[in-house]
């Protein structure tokens, strides 16, 4: 009785080789023991790892209540100032978190700007490392409090800290002048804008 029945064949020959000569029989026995031992040791590990990989094996929705193509209503055109000043809005939907469904939660926030009647939407998460970007009215810039990323109001980078500009989001305005945004998050820390 020893903790690990799955030990490998040792390099050193048995110390008491006189009494137990290494025969073909004991070789087969050894191989069989290693095989059986490996199976019993590996089975729970493999099952556990497969379970642990669940987030990679299955993609699950993070929210419910958006349109089929992923749009959520945010605000009306009238709520946005005409001078293009960005305003931050929360997006309301049912949040899915593993087993839970939380009704009517703010699942994310966005900046909206109105320029000549056209709406621009930014995800307000910094593309650098994911802090929430502030709007600095005094300087007319977006500014990240974590690592000083700064962006112009059109989302372009003002310094080299962030790898890319602010992430724009798809928008549309319906016939009742309601603004809809397709809320998505993107991989942070890389130059490419890639949905996660």
């Amino acid at each position: 009785m020893v903790p690990e029945p799955t030990a490998e064949t040792p390099d050193t020959p048995p110390a008491t080789s006189e009494s137990v000569p290494p025969t073909r029989r004991s070789f087969i026995t050894g191989v069989s023991a290693v095989i059986a031992g490996t199976i019993v040791a590996v089975t729970p590990v493999i099952a556990g790892l497969a379970f642990f990989l669940d987030p990679l094996l299955r993609r699950r929705p993070t929210m419910q209540g958006a349109t089929e193509d992923g749009f959520l209503p945010v605000a009306t055109l009238a709520e946005l100032p005409d001078d293009g000043t960005p305003l931050r809005f929360g997006l309301s939907a049912d949040k899915v978190d593993a087993w839970n469904l939380f009704k009517n939660q703010t699942i994310g926030t966005v900046y909206l700007r109105k320029i000549n009647g056209q709406v621009i939407a930014f995800n307000d998460t910094c593309p650098h490392l994911g802090c929430k970007v502030d709007y600095k009215p005094s300087e007319h810039i977006f500014f990240c409090p974590c690592h000083a990323s700064a962006f112009k109001l059109d989302g372009e980078r003002k310094n080299e800290i962030p790898p890319r500009g602010m992430d724009t989001l798809e928008t549309r305005v319906d016939d009742k002048n309601r603004i809809w945004v397709k809320y998505e998050n993107f991989q942070r820390g890389v130059a490419e804008k890639k949905v996660v």
Binding site: P5, A47, D54, V96, W99, N100
Partner: protein, 630 residues
């Protein structure tokens, strides 16, 4: 190159020597199958460590998330059923293997000098494993674990002197709650495994010091090395254990009852099978009379003391025989009590129904969680608001004293009267005094009302003081008898079907089809004129007695007469039924003929809503069937 690296490492950590020591232990008398039990226990424990760690990555200990996260592991996550299944059944395998290991040690007298201390260490390990199974049983926070563990903590609570304090410390308060789970989890995944690893290492080290206990008759045979002969036997034994565990995982699966509900009695409460003997022991009246502490603490304590003394008793030849006899006596006694408990439960219809209900609740909670997601209030809220779960319970409570539901009380239990005859419990069927509502409002029901009214309502004859005769000999019964031959005549088959379909459509239930259905139009004609398409006439038209307004028409087809002929507006639909349950004696329903209590004062509006929705089938779809056990 590889060899050089090997040498380099060996110079620094000396692993060759370690490996050599581990593998080349001589086994006097040769490798034997009976020596495998210790190794299988180590294997199962390692398996529990591995699967336990992975379950830990997904488990959330609080009363609002424990059941929920286990549900998620079991039903939603990839291979969660497998990992939890292995953990669940390996825990039970460990109990059996512990028993076998113990048996082998006692029979071989392996507790004798100089191995006494190691024997005691083994007993400590046994206690730790029992602690692990006890704490683990609660963690899913389902009805079964909740109530079974209540028993255990309450037993701890009757321990002399410190009982109450121990219980409150274990529970993290006066009762069960979040802190019970956090504490049990810390014990289950933290302290107890750490203690087990320490004690196990010591157990093995001391075992290696003394070597295996070889039965006398084998001592002269040549010795084998642990590697490879005994390793192979051990590995094959582990493989067999693993195969057995996997068999149960695949064909049985780890159960998850409905979420723990402190507000609801759980009549299927039983400990795990390996504690059933103790459970049954405590149920003996004579034991019960001696007090809980006697049966649950002193007796097991005395048995453990005798076991602990075995190395000393076993110093004499007679003592060793006594130990073996005592062990087999224990096994026989526990086995007898276990079989007794299982047989009694198998014969107990109430218990079987309770088990079926617990199983159903678990499946239903998982169904609802999957369909709707679990709200912040937890999965219990899903069950509490589910007509399919609550309707049957309300029916059993409020309706089943008179009505039946497909012959049972709604929840699948038979309605019986228990009488004591010569100190023997005799269960007698209690005759219903009102109609069986299992098919209420279905097409078959409506057909029966029309053609066999007096048979459908025949249980009314059991009603006290002949009160049921108002119905069994009333106008509707007479009409049904008069119309029976005409309606079941082959040439009127379509006519009857049309009339039934028209009435069924009033309920607005699922599958009622289009308003413009020609069959329904024909039915409406018959309903108002009493004239069948074949030309046959019914003795009276339905509208001669019953009021009826169609949902999509301004003018009613007929006015209510208020003479005890219930309105058929929306017949057997949700609103009709809710109104009826609220006040069946209302002029729109049975009026003065009524003999059913008005439930608006006996049940809350929410309860009547749940009951009515269940009876008209307005709930999330399910694959479950109630009352299959009978």
């Amino acid at each position: 190159m590889l060899h050089k690296l090997h040498d380099w490492l060996d110079d620094r950590i000396g692993h060759r020597r370690l490996l050599h020591d581990a593998l080349f232990e001589p086994i006097p008398g040769g490798a034997r199958w009976r020596y495998v039990w210790g190794s299988t226990l180590v294997f199962v424990f390692v398996t529990q460590m591995i699967t336990g760690f992975f379950l830990w990555t997904a488990y959330s200990p609080s009363t609002l998330t424990a059941w929920e996260s286990v549900y998620y592991i079991q039903h939603e996550m990839s291979y969660g059923w497998l990992v939890r299944g292995i953990h669940h059944f390996a825990a039970q395998a460990m109990m059996i293997l512990l028993g076998l290991h113990f048996l082998q040690v006692v029979i071989d007298g392996a507790y004798r000098a100089p191995r006494e201390v190691n024997f005691w260490m083994g007993l400590v390990l046994l206690q730790i494993v029992l602690g692990l199974s006890l704490t683990g049983y609660l963690l899913p926070w389902d009805q079964k674990g909740y109530y079974a563990t209540q028993v255990a903590t309450n037993i701890a609570g009757v321990t002399p002197v410190v009982g109450q304090q121990v219980q409150q410390l274990a529970q993290g308060g006066a009762g069960y709650g979040h802190q019970t789970l956090t504490r049990f989890f810390a014990l289950h995944a933290g302290l107890l495994p750490a203690l087990l690893i320490g004690a196990l290492a010591a157990h093995i080290a001391v075992f290696r010091r003394h070597g295996i206990t070889v039965p006398e008759k084998h001592r002269d045979k040549p010795a084998d090395m642990f590697w490879p002969d005994q390793v192979l036997k051990d590995a094959i034994a582990c493989l067999a254990v693993l195969a057995t565990i996997l068999f149960f995982v695949v064909y049985k699966g780890a159960e998850l009852n409905g979420p723990a509900n402190p507000a609801e009695a759980y009549s299927a409460a039983r400990p795990e099978w390996y504690f059933l003997f103790l459970f049954r022991f405590l149920k003996f009246e004579a034991i019960d009379k001696l007090g809980l502490a006697f049966g649950a603490i002193y007796v097991p304590g005395a048995i453990m003391t005798v076991i602990a003394l075995m190395p000393i008793i076993g110093r004499w030849k007679m003592g060793h025989r006594f130990n073996i006899a005592f062990t087999f006596g224990l096994l026989l006694g526990a086995g007898y009590l276990t079989v007794l408990a299982l047989r009694e439960d198998a014969a107990d219809v109430d218990y079987q129904a309770a088990v079926a209900e617990a199983h159903r609740d678990g499946e239903r909670a998982a169904e609802l969680a999957h369909q709707q997601g679990i709200p912040a209030q937890g999965a219990l809220a899903l069950l509490n608001q589910d007509p399919f779960t609550q309707g049957p319970r309300l029916f059993a409570r409020a309706c089943s004293s008179c009505h039946r539901y497909n012959g049972h009380d709604g929840t699948g239990r038979l309605v019986v009267i228990t009488e004591m005859v010569d100190h023997q419990k005799i269960m007698k069927d209690s005759p219903p005094t009102a109609a069986d509502l299992g098919h209420f409002g279905s097409r078959e029901w409506t057909r029966e009302v029309l053609v066999n009214y007096h048979e459908l309502f025949v249980p009314l004859k059991n009603a006290p003081e002949g009160a049921g005769n108002r119905f069994l000999e009333g106008d509707m019964a007479t009409w049904s008898k008069d119309s029976h031959d005409v309606l079941v005549d082959k040439k009127n088959e379509e006519g009857l079907k049309a009339l039934v379909e028209f009435l069924y459509q009033q309920s607005g239930r699922e599958g009622t089809g289009m308003v413009e259905n020609p069959l329904v139009k024909t039915g409406q004609e018959i309903f108002t004129s009493g004239k069948l398409p074949s030309g046959d006439m019914l003795s009276m038209a339905c509208t001669d007695c019953h009021g009826m307004k169609l949902a999509y028409q301004e003018e009613p087809l007929s006015e209510e007469q208020g003479a005890g002929a219930p309105t058929l507006t929306g017949y057997a639909g949700y609103n009709w039924l809710k109104g009826f349950i609220n006040n069946p004696g209302h002029a729109s329903y049975y009026g003065e003929n009524n003999q059913m209590p008005a439930f608006e004062t006996r049940l809350t509006a929410e309860q009547i809503d749940l009951l009515a929705r269940w009876m008209v089938g307005d709930y999330e779809p399910t694959k479950l069937v109630i009352g299959k056990a009978h």
